[in-house]
Symmetry: C2
Subunit: 223 residues, 2 copies
């Protein structure tokens, strides 16, 4: 007897992800699955995003980490509704983990829910959480060849944020080469250069967010 364990796990995951999506749609939430390597700057980006969206769209966050509640603590100090998920040893979030915390966040009072995945450039790409879109962050200190070496995540993402652009001059990161590599893997990927230090690109990113929300729900305000 041979069991295809992985196919089975992914099928179960997709079933729960579809249920999560029903809940999100019912609450008029645009949901993003935010993925990157450890330390690419996801949490800082969320802090900046919360500031930039103030008065426009109501942001909520689910944060996944192996251990510690540091990220949620950081985000709550920005009065952002944040739920921390600690995965123990799991290297990615899955749909069931998300389903298990949906009762802890007031989805009806949120326009955009961003799920910050575990820092990992490999495993999160395979597991749908019920999100509308996948977004990934690549920081310039990580190297411009990363799309070729870790293609799955770049292939799955609608938007690539190239972060820490303020550090570009201190690295040998070739920005045009990085973009060309990302587009070799995913011809349709959108790309925005950002810096959470200088603020470069943050407005372009929140404009992208707003337009995705408008596209899904027709208008910014609730009926």
């Amino acid at each position: 007897m041979r069991i295809n364990v992985m196919a089975d796990i992914l099928q179960a995951n997709d079933r729960i992800a579809a249920l999560n999506r029903q809940v999100f749609d019912g609450n008029r939430n645009l949901v993003l699955n935010l993925m990157s390597s450890p330390g690419a700057g996801k949490t800082t980006l969320l802090e900046k995003t919360a500031e930039a969206l103030k008065g426009q769209l109501r942001l909520g966050v689910i944060v996944g980490d192996i251990e510690t509640t540091r990220d949620a603590d950081r985000l709550e100090s920005h009065s952002l509704p944040a739920v921390q998920l600690t995965t123990g040893s799991a290297c990615h979030l899955d749909a069931n983990m998300i389903a298990s915390v949906l009762g802890r966040i007031d989805l009806a009072s949120i326009d955009v829910l961003i799920i910050e995945n575990v820092g990992n450039l490999v495993c999160p790409a395979e597991f749908s959480l019920g999100e509308d879109l996948k977004v990934m962050v690549l920081s310039v200190t990580e190297g411009d060849e990363k799309p070729l070496k870790y293609p799955a995540m770049f292939r799955e993402s609608s938007l690539l944020l190239i972060n820490k652009i303020d550090l570009l001059k201190h690295t040998n990161f070739d920005l045009e080469e990085a973009k060309a590599n990302a587009r070799r893997i995913n011809g349709g990927i959108e790309i925005i250069d950002i810096s959470c230090i200088t603020g470069e690109g943050i407005c372009e990113w929140t404009t992208w967010l707003s337009s995705c929300h408008r596209e899904k729900f027709g208008s910014k305000s609730r009926a």
Copy 2:
């Protein structure tokens, strides 16, 4: 019927790792499992290490990547014997992958074999490859809280190399806090600050390597 798939996989892995270790010991190889996030600088470190060890210890490398043979190509241009392993979608190397390439590298002509794992701060920590020691690289652009958020790899490692120390002044990375965090997780971990750009710490690192080799085999030269 309930099967503990993960325990089973790890047990099989450990069995093959023990066989790998016999091969390494028979060839008088000191073997390191080098782990980090994507882009922390493992391949550049190996280039610098090869230069620094020239005339002292003969280095060989097995490089694991999801896709592409870029790293092995880079290393071979430094006349370093390098074998590339592409894992397809696997997020870490395992003992069986290593066993499958041992015939492609002349172990008898190598003193130190460094296995560059897939860039991932989570999954590689669980899988022994048959190595003597685990070494990890954390770059200052990744953040000083990483030992607390991804404890397993820090717990398993004998040595932590804090890399890109030349970029320290451009980041908010607290070096002392990072070291304190690593020691909270692993009281016995050794730590060396390095920069592959300025060369800082490279000599200390190769001295560490030489002393580990001497400790395992009694003397630097072969009988």
